[in-house]
């Protein structure tokens, strides 16, 4: 089987020596595989004949040898079907052919035909034979006294391996050995260098990475150099710390976009038996997709990988310090640990930075935005401001519109719509209108759930539709999937609910927004209440002032004359009750004073009596003055106003000059008196009332009714308990105390001491007809005090021709003297309360003796009933 050739050498020893020397130079210059091949192909082939050469190396760990260097051009077996297999095969050292080579002292040749079919012979012998090769010359390469590999020289011509060839190869063997060692070392060094510069470059590129997009570009470029067959995937551990999702990837075989989207949007559980294994392994893990599937790993991505053609994959954890960030899956089956770990540590750092950066910017954005929102909201003075701020924040942060914001009413049961964006329901405006104004209470199922929840409730619209809820029907018109109901809470007090429609919402930011909205609404509500209270206080204050003034002016009603005694009796009869009182009397007779006295004597005296002068207000405003109005009830109604009736609730209202009330207002007043409740102008709410009504007028209401200026029905309602105030001319007895009272009051005011009012003056005052009644007297006294000297008041300025005297003059025109005299005496008697003689009597006023007056009365037929009212 062996053939030791002893052919004659064609070369002389000297020639051989020279040739060897030359070759030796070349061999020492060998740096890489190419150099070695060139040596064989160019130099040696020029001297000896052979077809091709290869070098194999021994792998001691499994006692095999495997091709290291192939002569690609010369080899005739390159088109053999088993060529590829040969290139990667490990051939056992434990068989006779190679053992013979190992034992041989020098190069040893074999006829392929002799050995190739031996049971354990390596297959490359037959493969070569099949391509025409006939003989092989094997030479052992040694390293440190141990075989390291072989030089295989093949020939298709017998007798090519001449003794000269053999001896030359033998002589070259040590140099060839060191050349191969050098090549190996060189390759290792180059690889190391390559790795180093690769890592350095990668590291430089990675250092410039700021965003995920940068990272993707850099990683794609770098990992591309490792030539993964089908690409790579970087997965990132999600915020839930329980799943992973694709972060950056590159797939050579572009999958179906649908599959790709599914992959991108998936969150794979970490603990699936594979991802957790990679994360727990401190070394890169090489695994096989099929084997993992058959091991029972159910994760969907394995199936996708399989369809994408992934077979063996290396998984390396990406970790920053002690924290796992994700995994790099790389479709290679050769693991260069230092390289991969170098790459992964760089990716990890970049990823950690990007993630930290992202988080910071996200937080900042969110904070900045919430801050903006917060300032917008705190600056909101009105609902409109608030609404603008809320619409904006919802649009910007969660890209949705406000479906509804309801606020719990004062009753704690009902929820009124406070704010909403009806454009959301543009498809079904009528349905929306209906639902908006439908009654909602805290017991309504959705509302109850939301109010009871801590952070709100998500309702799936499709689910809700099944229950047939009208709300669900409304919601579904938007085409969105879910409804989020959140409680608006200040502290732990529910103040309302907020409803948002969306497919998905970030709960976290929602919570912050809701908290702010709740505070803002409660502020605005408080503000509104405060304003209302303030208004009420102001109004009350005005009345208080007025009342104090009145009390000061009329701390008691002056005058105890008989006429007044009758009035007092009536007042004390009616004061206790809630009956409507109608005070009648000429102007200046003190109707308001009487009204106040009635109120002050009633059980309502602790509350302020509210006074309205019906004559003092423009007709178009009187209704709102009396009954109040809602915001926007009419042009100019900018704010809500509480009417005087509402203000007078549980107290008394005094309607002065009721005769001046326009007919329209009369109708409303009548309704209020009848129903004992009222509705603000433009309002929908009925307000229960408990008001005691006191009305006054100087008109003859019966006449007004007859003339059609006053409603009869209202008149009957008012005229339940009329009190007629006597004119001052009928209260001659009260002239003196009244005069004294005003003198006191105004002298104090004017800083003048008036010691005395002369009887002459009093006499004069009693003779006057007082068309302006008590008020006229008061003004007269006030004026006279300023003119008084010496502390004595003995003169007043009485106007010469008052309306009354002119009227009297007119009456006088067509009358006889007797008639005039008779009327005048009756008039005077009336004024003097029927007193004929004595102080304050008609005789005094008429300046005739009492007897004379008596006889005159008899003569003129004046009887008691003529002058007693």
């Amino acid at each position: 089987m062996k053939k030791t050739s002893d052919d004659k050498s064609n070369l002389s020893l000297q020639q051989q020596g020279e040739m060897l020397l030359a070759l030796s130079d070349d061999i020492t210059r060998i740096r890489d595989k190419n150099d070695l091949i060139t040596l064989f192909k160019k130099r040696i082939k020029g001297i000896f004949y052979f077809t091709h050469t290869i070098v194999t190396l021994i792998d001691y760990k499994d006692e095999t040898y495997t091709p290291f260097l192939l002569d690609n051009d010369g080899s005739p077996i390159r088109n053999h079907t088993r060529y590829k297999e040969m290139v990667h095969a490990h051939f056992s050292l434990n068989e006779p052919f190679i053992q013979a080579v190992l034992k041989s002292e020098g190069p040893i040749s074999f006829f392929l035909a002799d050995i190739m079919d031996q049971p354990l012979s390596p297959p490359f012998l037959r493969v070569n034979y099949e391509k025409g090769v006939r003989e092989i010359l094997m030479t052992c390469l040694m390293k440190e006294g141990r075989p390291m590999g072989f030089v295989h020289i093949y020939t298709d011509k017998p007798d090519s391996f001449t003794p000269a060839f053999r001896s030359m190869i033998k002589a070259m063997a040590p140099q060839l050995s060191s050349a191969v060692s050098n090549i190996i070392k060189n390759e290792e060094l180059q690889n190391k260098e390559g790795e180093k510069s690769f890592l350095l470059e990668f590291s430089n590129n990675i250092a410039a990475v700021r965003t995920k997009e940068d990272l993707a570009l850099t990683v794609r470029a770098a990992l591309g150099k490792l030539r993964p067959r089908n690409g790579f995937v970087i997965r990132r551990i999600n915020e839930d710390n329980a799943t992973m999702s694709p972060y950056v990837y590159e797939l050579t075989n572009k999958p179906d976009p649908k599959i790709l989207r599914a992959l991108e949007n998936s969150a794979y559980p970490i603990s699936d038996g594979l991802q957790d294994r990679v994360l727990n392994s401190n070394i890169p893990m090489l695994f096989n997709v099929d084997r993992e599937i058959s091991r029972g790993i159910r994760s969907a991505y394995l199936q996708y990988w399989k369809t994408l053609g992934f077979t063996d994959i290396v998984g390396i954890r990406l970790r920053n310090g002690e924290t796992n960030l994700g995994i790099l899956f790389l479709d290679i089956d050769e693991i260069n640990i230092p390289l991969l770990q170098g790459v992964c540590s760089q990716i990890s750092i970049a990823m950690a930075n990007i993630m930290a950066n992202d988080m910071v910017t996200r937080k900042q954005d969110e904070q900045a935005f919430l801050l903006d929102f917060s300032s917008d909201i705190t600056q909101a003075r009105t609902r409109q401001d608030l609404q603008d701020a809320i619409f904006k924040v919802l649009d910007r942060t969660i890209h949705t519109k406000l479906a509804m914001l309801r606020v719990i009413d004062d009753d704690g049961i009902h929820l009124s719509p406070y704010m909403y964006d009806s454009s959301l329901f543009a498809n079904t405006p009528e349905h929306f209108e209906k639902m908006v104004h439908g009654e909602v209470t805290v017991h309504q199922p959705h509302t109850a759930q939301v109010l009871a929840s801590s952070d709100g409730v998500m309702f799936n619209i499709e689910e809700e539709l099944k229950s047939g809820s009208d709300y669900a029907k409304l919601w579904s018109s938007t085409g969105l999937k879910n409804v989020y109901g959140l409680p608006l809470r200040v502290g732990d007090k529910n103040i309302g609910t907020i409803w948002l429609l969306a497919n998905r919402l970030s709960q976290l930011i929602l919570k912050g927004i809701c908290a702010q909205i709740a505070v803002a609404i409660s502020n605005i509500q408080a503000n509104e209440k405060l304003l209302a209270y303030k208004k009420q206080l102001e109004v009350e204050n005005d009345y208080l002032k007025e009342q104090i003034k009145t009390i000061y002016n009329f701390s008691e009603i002056i005058g105890n004359g008989e006429e007044m005694q009758k009035v007092y009796r009536l007042m004390s009869l009616v004061a206790d009750s809630t009956s409507t009182v109608l005070v009648l009397g000429e102007t200046g007779t003190g109707k308001e004073l009487i009204a106040r006295a009635i109120h002050n004597a009633s059980p309502r005296k602790d509350k302020l009596m509210v006074k309205v002068n019906c004559a003092a207000m423009p007709a178009n405003l009187i209704e709102s003055e009396l009954f109040g109005h809602e915001r926007g009830a009419f042009t100019g109604a900018i704010e809500r106003r509480i009417g005087k009736f509402e203000l007078a609730n549980n107290s008394s209202i005094f309607l002065d000059e009721i005769g001046e009330l326009p007919l329209e207002a009369q109708a409303k007043l009548l309704r209020v008196i009848q129903e004992r409740e009222l509705e603000r102008l433009g309002g929908k709410q009925l307000i229960k009332l408990n008001v005691r009504l006191i009305a006054a007028t100087n008109r003859n209401l019966e006449e007004e009714v007859r003339a059609g200026r006053f409603r009869a029905d209202l008149y009957f309602r008012l005229n339940v308990f009329p009190i007629l105030l006597p004119p001052l001319r009928d209260r001659a007895a009260d002239i003196e105390p009244l005069t004294q009272f005003f003198v006191q009051k105004y002298s104090r005011n004017a800083g003048r001491k008036i010691k005395k009012v002369t009887p002459r003056l009093l006499q004069q005052l009693r003779s006057y007809t007082w068309p302006g009644n008590v008020r006229e007297l008061e003004h007269l006294v006030e004026r006279s005090i300023l003119l008084a000297t010496d502390g004595i008041l003995d003169e007043v300025y009485i106007p010469p021709s008052t309306d009354a005297s002119r009227q009297n003059a007119a009456i006088l025109l067509n009358r006889s003297l007797d008639e005039v005299e008779r009327d005048y005496i009756i008039e005077t008697l009336k004024r003097c309360a029927g007193k004929i003689s004595g102080t304050g009597s008609a005789a005094e006023v008429l300046k005739v003796p009492g007897n004379t007056l008596h006889s005159k009365m008899k003569k003129l037929g004046i009887e008691k009933r003529d002058y007693v009212v």
């Binding site: 760990k61 006692e63 294994r277 070394i283 890169p284 096989n288 089956d333 050769e334």
Partner: protein, 252 residues
Amino acid sequence: MKIVVIGGSGLIGTKVVARLRQEGHQVIAASPATGINTLTGEGLAEALQNTDIVIDLANSPSFEDKAVMEFFQTSGRNLLAAEINAGVKHHLALSIVGVDIMQNLGYMRAKKAQEDLIVQSGVPYTIIRSTQFFEFLAGIANQATEGNTVHLSDVSFQPIAAEDVAAFVTGFALGTPLNGRVEIAGPERFELFDVVARYLRHTNDPRKVEPNGKPEYFGGGISHTSLVPAGEASLGALNFESWWSRQAQPVA
């Protein structure tokens, strides 16, 4: 079958590799020298591709408590993870008789940790607990030598020849995984000081062996019977004399 022997260049490893190759298996003798390092994971995944059986006969280069624990834990984790990935069907490891009752010794704690990782891994396994190797006697003598005297305990000792260990390892490795432990030991039981003295005599070592009467091993207190099998054990064929006669005689 493709078999990877971790520590294939060690005392037991070389013998096991030789026996398996003898039987015609494709064997990778893995060690840092052949580019396979269980501590760093280098070469591990490639070596394990398409492997059926892994035999772990590696040992820590350092016996210092922390280092040895680190070695067996990290190596164990890396190796078992790679085996799971590669779908290895049988993992065999060589542990020590009495390992769980000598947990006061750092080395024993590390071996126990190695065993625990195997049991928890889910890879089908066989753990062989062996007594000390005859080849280890010299080391025991050296660590107990003070001046010219070797101070040794009289605890029971039942050493086994590396050749026998290799035979057992080969046999169990090729069998079905036990998913449990077996114990192997030498055929003869001695007192520790006595067999060391015998060994020194055979090697013409001038040192004197003194029994110190203390039940201890490598300086740690143990019971008299900690180092010998408590129950059933497979016994090696070679006793002290037959082992000795197979050793290359030292040049006197």
